[in-house]
């Protein structure tokens, strides 16, 4: 009965490619907030990509851009080989059937006037299922997320706990049988024990349904735990990207190093020497010239203010830092170039 979306591009085709996504919000009194400022990355099929960064770095805007819930000012989105919105590509409707999102605030992400079964069955109803079919599919999906449909189907959101609400949110996203699920701080608001349960649930669902996740969080430990690859964002740009184990073991960008240093560690062997990060990030309405991180970077030099370092591209471990670009003019770049050559 359930429709399965065909794998059009084959296993080698990335599930989602974001190319130079940009979103600037105009603000009163002129100027614009550069929420997302040229972000490019690719999500392979079946992987979990973690996106980390401080609050205000554009993570949630990026999540909404990926679903075209807000229109990007520039940049392209390619879903399974089909460009979103292009005449010969994939239209918004089919993108949204194949890519779904789980929101952070489980309280405001469920309609308080709608019973759980109707909330979960809304997607199938949109696709033209009858009321009974939609209810049956909603019950199926509720069972998948570990909620008894008999018990929870008729309930209203205010009768559920935070963990239960988030399960319903996950069920609603899954009701459309998506291939890609964007989890925007999906477990951040939960208690640690409930968070672990929901993370386990997400892992099981991924295995059972062959899902691809974009996992957005500010919690480094959780991202390290769930992600295959990691994207570190700073001020609307990608600071560092690469396989999760490499990024967490040998962070390249000073920002990533500071982030990792600032988290609590139980292992004295894993202390990082870098100075913990201080101060607030600069306002995205008025970002510093050149590299966005230079105002807080212990290694900042003149070249960092002149122009922005090239953002990481491709799947390999790389960071947007002049120190990693041979010939960039940064005093540490020669050193690194020599290391790489050796």
């Amino acid at each position: 009965m359930r429709m399965k979306h065909p794998d059009r591009g084959g296993p080698a085709q990335p599930m989602l490619i974001a190319d130079g996504l940009k979103k600037h919000f105009a603000i009163a009194g002129g100027g614009a907030v550069r929420a997302v400022d040229g972000v490019s990355f690719a999500v392979a099929k079946g992987e979990t990509i973690g996106i980390v960064g401080e609050s205000g770095c554009g993570k949630s805007t990026l999540a909404r851009l990926l679903l075209h819930l807000i229109r990007p000012d520039a940049g392209d989105l390619v879903f399974d080989g089909d460009k979103v919105g292009a005449p010969d590509g994939i239209d918004l409707g089919s993108l949204r059937r194949q890519a779904q999102m789980v929101f952070q605030d489980s309280a405001s992400s469920l309609n308080p006037r709608m019973p759980v079964r109707d909330s979960v069955g809304f997607g199938p109803r949109v696709l033209g299922r009858t009321r009974a079919q939609a209810a049956a599919e909603a019950d199926d999906t509720l069972r998948r997320v570990g909620l008894d449909p008999e018990l929870f189907g008729p309930r209203y959101p205010h009768e559920l706990s935070g963990g239960q609400k988030q399960r319903v949110n996950i069920a609603r996203a899954l009701a459309l049988n998506p291939r890609l699920v964007i989890l925007d701080e999906a477990v951040s608001a939960l208690d640690k024990s409930v968070e672990a349960q929901v993370l386990n649930l997400l892992a099981t669902l991924k295995r059972q349904l062959g899902l691809t996740y974009v996992f957005i969080s500010h919690d480094l430990a959780v991202v390290q735990h769930v992600s295959d690859r990691v994207l570190v964002m700073y001020l609307g740009r990608v600071a560092e990207s690469g396989p999760a184990d490499q990024v967490f073991a040998t962070p390249l960008h000073p920002y990533t190093r500071a982030l990792l240093a600032s988290r609590l560690s139980m292992d004295p062997e894993h202390r990082v020497e870098a100075a913990p990060i201080t101060g607030d990030p600069p306002s995205p309405a008025n970002p510093p010239s050149g590299c966005g991180f230079r105002t807080r970077c212990p290694h900042a030099e003149a070249v960092c203010a002149e122009h922005a370092p090239a953002a990481p591209t491709g799947q390999a471990h790389d960071a947007a830092c002049h120190m990693l670009r041979a010939g960039s003019g940064h005093s540490a770049a020669h050193l690194l170039g020599a290391q790489a050559a050796a």
Partner: protein, 297 residues
């Protein structure tokens, strides 16, 4: 954390099935004694107006030269007689029909027009919303009584014109309430989630917006009924609404005013009727407001 898992069923067995929204509202209303009492009183007022031909002891139009301005209980006229010798009780009962119509019809009309405009303004936003809301602001510049008098004065008296004038006066307020509620709901994640399913605007408005906008609009509308009764009576009092000899509470008050020193209690009866009815609608509206709040348990 990463080991294989079995999911504990998150079920705390609770045998009673969750009731629907409206039965929940009903249950809460029933537990609120003040609202229940005034609901019953309101029902009694509406019923007595509707059943006026059956229960009225006299013909409300029957005049009598010898029975003018008699006190309470005079020869079977329980509430006395007016300046033309007509039975006050009969005129109150029949007058209830016109007065309640003047109270309810304009509000329903304003609810439909203002509510839809408000939802449209709130949901569409942008220049559509600005256009609608700024137009409504123009109406806000005038005091509502003055506006009602001006409109019905311009259109000429009569019951229908009076109701139209009242409806026009209520549209901006209704529109603003609906717009505010819509704007609040529109930016919530569940509306975004609905958009993410690929749902069209109509479907989102119908399933996710209307239900959440309806509660504040309904509560506000029920409180407007008493305002509408008062304003309608005011219009009739000024000779702009209902024309004599049709019984209407405001009009009765206006014509009995001259006899205030002859039969003060008899002259106060229509005012008392207006007072009781508007109190009823206000208190029931208050009860509705708290009963319809989903967050309260």
């Amino acid at each position: 954390m990463s080991q294989a898992l079995h999911l504990p069923a998150m079920a705390a067995p609770r045998p009673a099935p969750t009731p629907g929204y409206w039965s929940m509202v009903g249950r809460r209303l029933r537990r609120d004694p003040v609202t229940v009492i005034f609901c019953l009183l309101m029902l009694a007022i509406v019923l007595s107006a509707v059943c006026a031909p059956l229960i009225s002891p006299f013909d409300p139009y029957k005049e009598s030269v010898i029975l003018r301005l008699k006190p309470f209980g005079f020869r079977g006229h329980w509430l006395g007689t007016d300046e033309l010798g007509r039975d006050i009780l009969a005129r109150i009962l029949y007058g209830g029909q016109t007065t309640l119509l003047m109270g309810i019809c304009p509000v329903i009309a304003a609810c439909l027009v203002g509510g839809s405009l408000g939802v449209l303004a709130g949901y569409a936003g942008g220049w559509v919303g600005t256009l609608i809301m700024r137009t409504m602001d123009v109406f806000y510049a005038f005091p509502s009584v003055l506006l009602a008098v001006a409109i019905s004065g311009a259109m000429g008296g009569g019951m229908l014109n009076g109701m139209l004038a009242l409806a026009l006066v209520f549209v901006p307020a209704m529109c603003r309430v609906a717009e505010t509620a819509t704007t609040q709901v529109r930016n919530l994640d569940y509306v975004e989630a609905a958009r993410a399913t690929g749902a069209g605007h109509l479907m989102i408005v119908r399933h996710h917006l209307l239900g959440n906008v309806m509660a504040p609009v309904l509560v506000y509308a029920s409180s407007l009924v008493s305002v509408s009764i008062l304003l309608g009576s005011g219009l009739s009092f000024l000779g702009l609404g209902v024309r004599p000899p049709i019984p209407e509470w405001g009009l009765m008050l206006s014509t009995l005013r001259q006899s205030l020193y002859v039969q003060p209690w008899v002259c106060a009866v229509p005012g008392f009727a207006i007072f009781i009815t508007s109190i009823c609608f206000n208190l029931v509206s208050d009860g509705l407001r708290s009963a319809m709040d989903v967050r309260l348990k």
